[in-house]
Symmetry: C2
Subunit: 519 residues, 2 copies
């Protein structure tokens, strides 16, 4: 990854040609960003200049349209252009340059040579790219796992906020222990116990979102080359973290009854993983629920091999049909399970507060890692959640969510199933946030991302959810965030995009053209 | 670090003898915790049983008193004992055990064997131990860099909170971009520009406290064995992070004019560091301010060697005397400086919000790392800070802090200098949070921590602030957090402790006893 000669990076930064270096290890979209950025800064592209439509520039450069789409998105994030679906992309007034050349665009420091050698392992920008769309109001987003904004309990939060500032005051805005605000840990232990998970306060760790929990687990357990067993498909954020820690990922397929524990058994005959990562309930992205029989089988296999299980459980409170099952942690008699959950899905994602239940010896290691990572999780959010849960607001809030989300799930499923011209595989889950939507085999996911973005619709390409080669051609659609009318409109546009790409694919496969993935 | 035989950990967990294994790689205080914990769980130590005073147990076991102190603290954090200064430490009712043996105390999983091989590098618990004291009301704490609770702008925060929930509503509680809430990045860019640091929005990254900024820098730059130059003494949280990333730390001494850039020059003749980490203004812990001449020299050296500078600048707004100097970043004409600051010291530490100014190529890498670490920084806190700064509340707030902190600094300095029986070295800084307090050479810092804790006073042992062997016997005293009356009382008790330990040291050095450090 490192370049040999000092100063090479700065020379490149000034290089204004739009020519693309296909042998470079820099992604093509980054090269585009850099070159267009330089042309804007030198004035070669004046303010108001309209960049060519994505489709046209892609054709003229001989690159995938999604590459141009990504480049334009980043130019927008850099504040250099403004883009609106249907109105094109235009150059903005660049921000005032500092007195001299200190903005970093012509740096004396060869930054790329200084980055650590293995940084390439964590360079897939998909999560950041998805989060960057959260400030866009012009998109129908099925891509991120967000709650419905209009169902957030703003009134209650407002009352609790006043109450906290009035009674706890400064303590709610100062530091707190790395392990978490003790009353919140107490309250979580009680709440978990009421759900069948016996947890002591001393076993509860508050983390800055369950994403941080995954990252801390990777930090304390994974040496480069260590094996981690994951489901396939699985949560992209977990795959990202384990890959960044240089784990070797071994996938076990998921079917309608969750992880195939028969296959897990033979995996454990050949590998000794640091842990088994599972989302047993309303799995992300497939929506599957692991059967009770398989939960027991998983525990039995893990006990026999002394392999810990990491159970990620953000969605189990959101059940729209069928009978509830105990979590794997609730069935765990031997302390095999590290349990991870969050309030992001069922309450307030913006607080970034999750929690874990772990044996004290593991908790101590996690705390030693967390102290250097962020000292502790934000205090005010912890006070807020503690009062929300202790005040008994949670059950009523969940009831409201469940009835709204059930309707949205049904509406999206009906809209997806309404197109009889395509052979589509719609998996309607009993709960959670996502429909896992099988698209025709020939449809390229990169092309579909671009075609849907042209229509103002986003989704998560399912191929990003696999540890190795994707086993099926499916995409993940979130049904909880968009209002009902947007769901109908958005799914209509998505199906149009599928038909368009399917017909292009048929044409281009006749012409022998190649396709490349978006991520 | 790994134990050879499977199951060894579980056998150890049940081992009830109070004997200490001095050859173990497990710290002695941890062995104590584990054994006492086991005795409580088996009922060998019944509820209400008073543990022996720290001093007596330490003597009977032949260990340092601070070791016992640490063990008792952890037992308290585990909820197994309750301790009050002056009233001793008693066994509590253990929390209800789960149905079977699933609490992890007798686990089937050999957890210690599963931890990654290099975890030992980040196992100094000092930061977490300090933060654990934040919930204690019975201590006079000079140990943590906390603002004065009674000066927090609770009224303004309360008004802004209502305003945010009323106008922005759900957006303030949902996800936001990994880079940060765009209006906050805009506002910070303007605020920084007003302070002489030209920053574009696209160069500003919001992080979960500047601690996270340091951790992200370590993640993208440091390969094991890479050299990082640090000041000596320096911020313990930075040393912790760089050590955890397996950097090789090279220290450059700090004097009254900041980092000795003449020594830096010769360091750079022999090493090629990934970056130079500096706290040029009101240095933590020494309070030193780097002179203008040395700032320019630092930049010149860095430019010549193409080595980036990481400038950590949490305190520069808090000047109580002398003339302001431009930050190193403000003097930087070549894009050499990565700038890091935070609102934790000047506003609300509990929000965990810091920010960085970095070239776009570095920002992109930081974002790729941050997306996996915590997705993004908590949204509500970002809305709050944005409105606080944009609303113009910051200057008035800073004025109030400065006049109060100036008084507290002077009061602490006078109290420290009041004891003519000891030869004490009190460095009174022109700003910031800390007095760097030189204690007599023979006084052992571990013994002083214990003696002061017996009197209900805490401080940061200065030896933790050095990359290698401590160059001086000094401790760090925060003067901003405690009210004026507590400062007088606390410093009185601290000086008593110094006298006590100094006299013990004189006695024991006559008797040939050895001493060991606390951390």
């Amino acid at each position: 990854m490192r370049r040999p000669s000092p100063g090479a990076a700065s020379v490149e930064e000034e290089f204004l040609d739009i020519a693309i270096d296909r042998d470079s290890d820099e992604p093509i979209y980054r090269q585009l960003v850099r070159r267009i950025q330089a042309m804007i800064h030198t004035g070669a592209l004046p303010v108001g200049f309209r960049l060519p439509p994505e489709r046209r520039l892609a054709a003229s450069l001989g690159v995938n349209r999604s590459t141009v789409l990504n480049a334009y998105r980043e130019l927008k994030a850099l504040g250099l252009v403004d883009a609106h679906v249907g109105r094109g992309t235009a150059v903005l007034q660049p921000p005032a340059a500092p007195a001299r050349h200190g903005a970093g665009t012509v740096a004396d420091v060869p930054w790329r040579q200084l980055f650590r050698g293995d940084a390439a392992r964590s360079r897939d920008p998909i999560i950041a790219d998805l989060l960057a769309t959260t400030e866009r109001r012009d998109l129908i987003s099925f891509s991120i796992g967000l709650p419905a904004p209009e169902l957030l309990p703003i009134e209650i939060v407002s009352g609790l906020t006043d109450d906290i500032l009035g009674t706890a005051g400064p303590a709610s805005l100062l530091h707190c222990p790395t392990e978490g605000h003790t009353p919140l840990r107490d309250t979580l232990a009680q709440w978990l116990t009421s759900r069948g998970i016996h947890a002591r306060t001393s076993e509860v760790l508050v983390v800055s979102g369950s994403q941080q929990g995954l990252d801390l687990l990777a930090r304390i357990f994974i040496d480069p080359g260590d094996v981690v067993v994951v489901e396939e498909p699985s949560y992209i954020g977990a795959l990202h973290v384990f890959r960044s820690a240089q784990a070797r990922l071994i996938g076990v397929p998921v079917d309608a009854d969750g992880m195939r524990t028969d296959i897990l058994a033979s995996v454990l005959d050949h590998h000794r993983p640091k842990f088994i990562y599972t989302l047993p309930t309303f799995q992300n992205p497939s929506g599957a629920v692991m059967s009770l029989e398989r939960r027991r089988h998983l525990l039995e296999l893990a006990a026999r091999r002394q392999v810990p299980i990491v159970e990620d459980d953000p969605y189990s409170e959101l059940r729209y049909g069928g009978d509830a099952l105990p979590s794997v942690k609730a069935l765990d008699e031997r302390g095999l399970v590290i349990y991870l959950s969050t309030f992001s899905k069922v309450l307030l994602p913006g607080l970034r507060i999750g929690y874990m239940v772990v044996p004290p010896v593991v908790l101590r290691r996690l705390v030693l890692a967390k102290q250097g990572v962020d000292l502790h999780t934000n205090t005010f959010g912890q006070f807020l959640l503690e009062r929300f849960v202790r005040g008994g607001h949670f059950s009523a809030h969940l009831d409201g969510l469940k009835s709204a989300y059930r309707r949205r799930r049904d509406l999206m499923a009906a809209a997806l199933q309404g197109d009889s011209r395509l052979s589509l595989d719609v998996r309607v889950p009993d709960g959670g946030f996502y429909i896992w939507f099988g698209i025709p085999n020939g449809v390229n996911q990169g092309a579909l991302v671009a075609a849907a973005a042209d229509r103002g619709v986003t989704f998560l390409p399912g191929q990003a959810c696999f540890a190795a080669e994707p086993a099926e051609n499916a995409i993940r659609l979130n049904f909880t965030h968009c209002a009902e009318e947007s769901i109908s409109v958005g799914i209509g546009r998505l199906l149009e995009s599928v038909r368009e790409v399917a017909s292009t694919t048929r044409r281009s496969s006749r012409e022998g053209a190649s396709t490349s993935p978006v991520v």
